[in-house]
């Protein structure tokens, strides 16, 4: 079996796993998890909102690590990984920034408030959108990789601020539920299954996006050979 065929077979298996995990996550979030007393069914947004936020931060952490590795090794593959993770982080953070206000409106009676958690999350999203935009403005691949690696490292400074904001400052946003015991034991299995499902989705998408970027690199090399 060639490498390409092996990769395709692995992608198919991982794709099926993602599908099964997402169906399990939906089942757990809607049918297994109990109805919350004060918020009712609206609380079920939490099962996909929080894992999206965790995957967003994880993606930006991967972007940070890959950016550091690129600056050390100067290997294009690290830049490919950094870009893949950065783009996926923006997708997950977009989900967070859309589902958060949808949950907030009936609970807080406002779509948005400039609380530390919300503001730092929006800034984080904007920083990585800027990261993706910067890449489109630098034509030289080597310079583009260098500039975006430095930008990716600086942008990541905001990620710990997002994570710890609800611990450091008073915030309208719910406190970390697992640490404070705010999440009842009956709700925990659903939450863990949803995090696991999002993790498989994250791995699948990073892998696909990374190979896409590698193919783009191959195109650049071929073009240089031909023209």
């Amino acid at each position: 079996m060639t490498d390409q065929k092996r990769q395709a077979a692995f992608d198919s298996i991982l794709g099926v796993l993602v599908l099964v995990a997402m169906v399990a996550a939906l089942y757990m979030a809607f049918l297994q998890a109990p109805r919350e007393k004060t918020m009712g069914d609206l609380q079920r947004i939490f099962y996909f909102h929080v894992p999206s936020a965790v995957m967003g931060i994880l993606a930006f952490a991967v972007n940070f690590g890959a950016s550091v590795m690129f600056l050390i090794k100067k290997d294009r593959r690290w830049d490919n990984l950094a870009l893949s993770a950065g783009e996926i982080g923006v997708v997950f953070m977009s989900i967070v920034l859309i589902t958060g206000p949808i949950w907030a409106k009936p609970v807080w009676f406002v779509w948005w408030t400039w609380s530390p958690r919300l503001t730092s999350s929006l800034i984080l999203w904007m920083l990585y959108v800027a990261y993706l935009l910067i890449r489109t403005y630098v034509p030289d691949p080597g310079r583009r990789a260098m500039v975006s690696a430095v930008f990716g490292i600086i942008a990541f400074v905001d990620a710990p601020i997002v994570w710890f904001s609800i611990r450091w400052w008073r915030d309208i946003h719910p406190s970390p539920m697992l640490e404070t015991g705010g999440l009842s034991p009956a709700m925990r299995p659903a939450f863990y299954v949803c995090v696991a499902a999002f993790l498989t989705l994250f791995l699948y998408v990073v892998r696909r996006r990374y190979f896409l970027e590698s193919a783009r690199h191959e195109v650049e090399l071929l073009e240089r050979k031909i023209f």
């Binding site: 069914d41 609206l42 079920r44 947004i45 996909f48 909102h49 999206s52 997708v91 977009s94 989900i95 859309i98 589902t99 949808i102 949950w103 409106k105 009936p106 989705l201 998408v205 696909r208 996006r209 190979f211 896409l212 193919a215 783009r216 191959e218 195109v219 071929l222 073009e223 050979k225 031909i226």
Partner: protein
């Protein structure tokens, strides 16, 4: 229920659009690689 439905719809729409964008970019690049490889072969043959 409307808010819950809206939130989950948004999640699935975003994920579906992103997966579709990856798939279409992959497809486009694959055909581009093939085209360039053929071009390179034909150039080699001419030399």
């Amino acid at each position: 229920m409307g808010f819950l439905f809206s939130a989950y719809s948004a999640i699935w729409i975003i994920l579906a659009l992103y997966l579709y964008s990856i798939h279409s970019r992959e497809k486009k690049l694959r055909s581009e690689v093939e085209r360039l490889k053929q071009l390179l072969e034909s150039k080699k043959d001419k030399l």
